[in-house]
Symmetry: C2
Subunit: 298 residues, 2 copies
């Protein structure tokens, strides 16, 4: 089994690769780095890009923290162990362009002193307007990554994402899903620790090619004020999901994590319009019709 | 003891009075009404005002619902009873003007078939910029309402509001508080049911004179883009509180309440700026310095 130091080192390198890749595709924005230490052990590097050509607000966080597990977390994880180590890379990008999708990616590793350990992560897309060809490209790409490691991964993790990224009170998905996995071990995954680790790195390294393609396909499109207003409304649903349901956000808020790093995922601007009703047959209604679980995009 | 029908009727009348009063002070906006019925029993009248002279987005809701208590609510309330009745008036106003404060008011009555019953409610203020004279006026007015019913009410309910309207992850209060009370009974309040009911109506009827005064004091002030940006940022904290902590919102989301009525409290536009730091000595910093528990405004 690979050491936790090795996992943290590789994840940290993936953060570097992703930041370089995103700066390249944006062409203007540059990441600002904030290195922080965690009271209790470890720390991280928060990197934020703002006011780029396309990337309006985005963060690529790396952290490797350790210490004693806070009580509320022990309850959620249903473990008694005290000492933990966790490392991961976490990304959210809010583009300024309404035809370019919001994207989220996370890869993470967690272990406790009694050798209980697991990998988690995923990548999912939240288009303001769902474009079927882009959704197909996105899911097909993820399937090809998954298929390299296990024939069952894509279907299993795609369904998991549908269930996870669900705004229960709106009865709609946050976006078009992607893949989501948690507590992956050789027992649950059917592949070795080394392969699970390689899978998580492959997920991390799929981020730049996927998002570059989606940015470049759509950044050239014209848009109107109506499209912008819709974008701000969709962002408010994103904020609702993250503040009400997202496990990582809740975890961070309850354990006194670094607030600005945790809430970096929130949109630069979000609008709530009372009782908005999309017009029948409109692009907005077409998008709402596709925010459902169980759509097969591949 | 007054009947639940009487309480609902008086609360409904208070909704009417408040809507008339708010239209008068705004001078342009008119409330749009939506009457709804609840599956399981009862219903309500949601009234929303948008794009007024000062009132950018506001709602004044009345509801009187009854039926079987949902399981999650039974757990929260720690009761076994099945049949319940609840009525109340709930208000949130987001003004367009950064010097006019956001305001929230709620009066509510709850009873179960075994005669367990209580009143709850309160009124609190969230200025984008805290103006000490306005805060004093606001708290002094609430104290004068409370003092008519019990000498201890103001201090007790003011401290309760400080504790309740607290954004734990930011370590700041949502605004400058006000009064908050819950599960008021003759036993806990030290006054009769009739007097508790009269107190709740006095709270409801304090809304229009208080808010009219605060609107008229500030609507004439000039403001800049910087003030607007700050307003949008403060609104994002308001959204965070409501989505992460507010008991009424959680209650509504978990019990399949009418989503648009519940989330009517969310601001028309909210901005999240990464790691915003107010300048030392700035008006923004002065406001942040006053978002603390335990400030004595009277």
């Amino acid at each position: 089994m690979i050491s936790k130091e090795q996992i943290a080192a590789d994840y940290s390198q993936i953060q570097d690769e992703i930041c370089s890749g995103l700066e390249l595709v944006d062409g203007l924005g540059k990441f600002q780095e904030e290195v922080w230490e965690r009271e209790g052990g470890g720390g991280g590097r928060t990197r934020v890009i703002q006011q780029g050509n396309v990337l309006e607000k985005g963060g690529v966080n790396f952290s490797a923290v350790e210490g004693k597990l806070p009580e509320p977390v022990k309850k959620v994880f249903k473990v008694d162990e005290e000492d933990f180590f966790a490392t991961g890379v976490s990304i959210v990008i809010h583009p300024n362009h309404p035809w370019v999708p919001i994207i989220h990616m996370n890869i993470r590793y967690f272990e406790m002193s009694d050798q209980v350990r697991w990998f988690g992560g995923g990548i999912d897309l939240t288009p303001h307007y769902v474009i079927p060809e882009d959704a197909q490209f996105f899911h097909q790409y993820l399937k090809s990554v998954c298929d390299q490691f296990h024939a069952d991964f894509y279907t299993k993790f795609k369904n998991w994402a549908d269930d996870y990224f669900f705004i229960n009170h709106r009865a709609e998905t946050r976006g078009i899903g992607g893949i989501f996995y948690d507590r992956l071990t050789p027992e649950s995954a059917g592949i070795s620790w080394d392969e699970i680790f390689n899978f998580s790195k492959a997920v991390g390294r799929s981020f730049v090619p996927i998002y570059s393609e989606l940015v470049n396909r759509n950044r050239i499109k014209e848009f109107s004020e109506q499209h912008k207003n819709w974008q701000y409304q969709r962002r408010s649903r994103y904020a609702e999901f993250n503040l009400v349901y997202d496990a990582g956000t809740k975890f961070g808020l309850e354990t006194n994590g670094r607030i600005e790093s945790i809430l970096m995922s929130l949109p630069p601007q979000a609008n709530w319009v009372y009782d908005y009703q999309a017009k029948e047959g409109s692009l907005e209604q077409q998008t709402l019709d596709l925010l459902k679980k169980g759509i097969n995009w591949v």
